[in-house]
């Protein structure tokens, strides 16, 4: 059983690596266009050790995590609060709708000039870009979740004496919205982490996974670029695992109700 699971988990990455190696060997065979997985593997290991000047991956990861944490935590807090309110209170939802929906599609990169204007070339400016990316998925998932809470729970709470809106929010809407909120957190975390590249494009610091991808591109080293992409992927995976664990802990009560377990 354990072994079968391991094999399952490894199936797609192995297939992907195989496909990539074959694609490289058959169609590309050109080291400045694409690096084969074997090459990337070696580069990845070397970059971890910091033996290549300017490219010490663990340090870059730390910087990126710092940007991510700052931007994402603010996005989560504000997205959650506004999402719950917007989901439950229709007039509030309406009053923020237009602004949110016009600002939402504007991509994080497009905010770089504003970020520089507001925060200069600081880590906060990077965090701001990440905030922009993560805020809307959290907000949208939370507000959709909050407005989809089953009526019967709210009505039950009301007749049990929860007459204040704050009580309904705290004791019914929030727990019932938790699954959607946590999906939002996972999607938002993904987008936030994605934004590190954009957030590190404009000179906020000389470290960061995103900054180094750009540098790698300048140096035309596909192996470095792909190694950094992988590193972003791996850190992203770890972050996702953390959120999933949290989700499982908080949503224990759903285990017996739903068909599969979310993962």
């Amino acid at each position: 059983m354990k072994l079968r699971d391991m094999l399952l988990y490894l199936a797609s990455p192995l297939l992907f690596i195989l496909g990539w190696e074959l694609y490289y060997d058959i169609f590309i065979r050109n080291p400045f266009v694409l690096a084969p997985p074997s090459k990337v593997f070696i580069t990845f290991i070397i970059l971890l050790s910091g033996r290549v000047a300017n490219f010490f991956m663990p340090l870059d990861a730390l910087y990126s995590l710092y940007h991510y944490l700052m931007g994402f935590s603010i996005a989560t807090l504000s997205g959650f609060t506004l999402g719950i309110l917007a989901g439950y209170i229709e007039s509030f939802r309406k009053s923020i709708y237009l602004l949110v929906e016009i600002i939402r599609p504007i991509p994080p990169i497009a905010w770089i000039p504003i970020a520089i204007l507001l925060f200069k070339l600081t880590h906060e400016a990077a965090a701001f870009i990440i905030f922009i990316g993560a805020f809307f998925p959290v907000l949208l998932n939370t507000s959709t979740g909050a407005s989809s809470v089953e009526k019967e729970y709210i009505e039950a709470a009301m007749t049990l004496g929860a007459t204040k809106t704050s009580q309904i929010l705290l004791k019914v809407v929030i727990p019932a919205t938790l699954p959607s909120f946590l999906t939002g957190v996972r999607v938002g975390s993904g987008v936030a982490w994605m934004c590190v590249v954009a957030a590190e494009l404009f000179g906020v610091s000389s470290y960061g996974l995103g900054y180094k991808i750009e540098l790698g591109r300048m140096y035309h080293s596909p192996d470095i670029v792909i190694s950094y992409m992988l590193m972003i992927g791996v850190v992203g995976l770890i972050l996702d695992r953390m959120w999933t664990k949290l989700e499982e802990t908080l949503l224990k009560w759903r285990r017996g109700i739903t068909w599969g377990r979310s993962s």
Binding site: P31, F32, V33, I116, L121, E214, M218, Y219
Partner: protein, 321 residues
């Protein structure tokens, strides 16, 4: 596009929205490609060097107007291409926020300057200039960014200075949030800037077209350098680059439209760049071993010589003096 032996149907060329590349815009605008080469040039404009070289490396263009350094890592890995002509030299300036008190290189100490990342021409020029003038570079805070970020950072006073190629500095000047304090021609005289890069198979299989193209390049650069054509060039830049006439009026700025790849001074500059990239670990062969390129490995000046011979005749065909 196929660079086969058969007659080519079009020539895919790439460049950037910089006035260092005005020559290729002029050739297109005037239709010289069809007139002289008999085929259409398709022009792709990239915002920066990396994607431009990624496309070039993947074989999507045969000629690129590009900075001198972006191709070097690819050439080190053995890309089949050569620098066949110079597009320009010099042509960058340091811009400061208006209240900055510039008193020479040492006034940069303790200040923040934004320029292209390490390995770029601007970065290299800046470092050489500072070091040559005895400034401790570790005391200068250097931030990385492209032209847009440089302007935005200046506007927001997020940096004290920026170092960017024309026409970016004039944007800051014209709009009143920056002033030019020194130009690159006064920092490292004659330093290389942009080049014309051509694919090897194209040179070998379509030599005649390649030479004719180079001749056109030489003629176009002469044409834009001629002050009598300034008004026409300004309109061209407004049209192709979308910049304001006010900014375009500053053409050619400090840009020097020199084309000869045999120029000693230029070759020395290239050698310096090769060394710089080698030291930064940017140029490596396909096995990852550091490569110290030399101008002779990357420049093919034979083609230029042949092109020069064609210039008078083509000029006549185009009705130019």
């Amino acid at each position: 596009f196929s660079a086969g032996k058969k007659a080519i149907k079009q020539i895919p060329v790439s460049c950037q929205p910089s006035w260092h590349h005005t020559a290729i815009y002029l050739i297109k605008e005037k239709g010289w490609d069809v007139k002289i080469l008999g085929v259409n040039i398709t022009l792709t404009v990239f915002p920066s060097g990396p994607p431009q070289m990624e496309a070039f490396g993947a074989g999507q263009h045969v000629i690129a107007y590009v900075g001198a350094t972006p191709p070097l890592p690819l050439l080190a890995k053995g890309m089949d291409a050569k620098i066949v002509a110079v597009a320009n030299t010099e042509g960058s300036s340091i811009i400061a926020v208006p209240e900055f008190q510039y008193t020479g290189p040492s006034s940069l100490e303790g200040k923040t300057i934004m320029t292209y990342p390490p390995g770029s021409i601007q970065y290299t020029v800046l470092m050489k200039w500072l070091t040559d003038n005895g400034v401790n570079v570790s005391k200068v805070n250097v931030k990385s960014g492209g032209p847009a970020e440089i302007l935005e950072a200046l506007r927001a006073k997020a940096v004290d200075l920026g170092f960017a190629p024309d026409p970016t500095p004039y944007n800051a000047v014209v709009n009143g949030y920056g002033k030019i304090v020194i130009s690159s021609k006064d920092m490292v005289p004659g330093h290389p800037c942009c080049v014309v890069l051509m694919r090897g198979d194209f040179i070998r299989e379509n030599k005649e077209v390649a030479v004719k193209f180079l001749a056109l390049h030489i003629i176009a650069e002469e044409y834009i350098s001629d002050p009598r054509n300034k008004e026409e060039v300004v309109s061209l830049l407004v049209k192709y680059l979308g910049i304001s006439r006010e900014v375009a009026e500053n053409f050619p700025g400090t840009t020097n439209f020199q084309t000869d790849p045999r120029n000693k001074n230029w070759l020395n500059g290239m050698d310096l760049l090769c060394d710089e990239l080698y030291k930064l670990g940017i140029t490596k062969d396909s096995n990852g071993n550091p490569v110290r390129l030399a101008p002779k490995d990357i420049v093919d000046s034979a083609l230029y010589g042949e092109a020069l011979k064609l210039v008078p005749q083509i000029k006549k065909e185009l009705g130019l003096p």
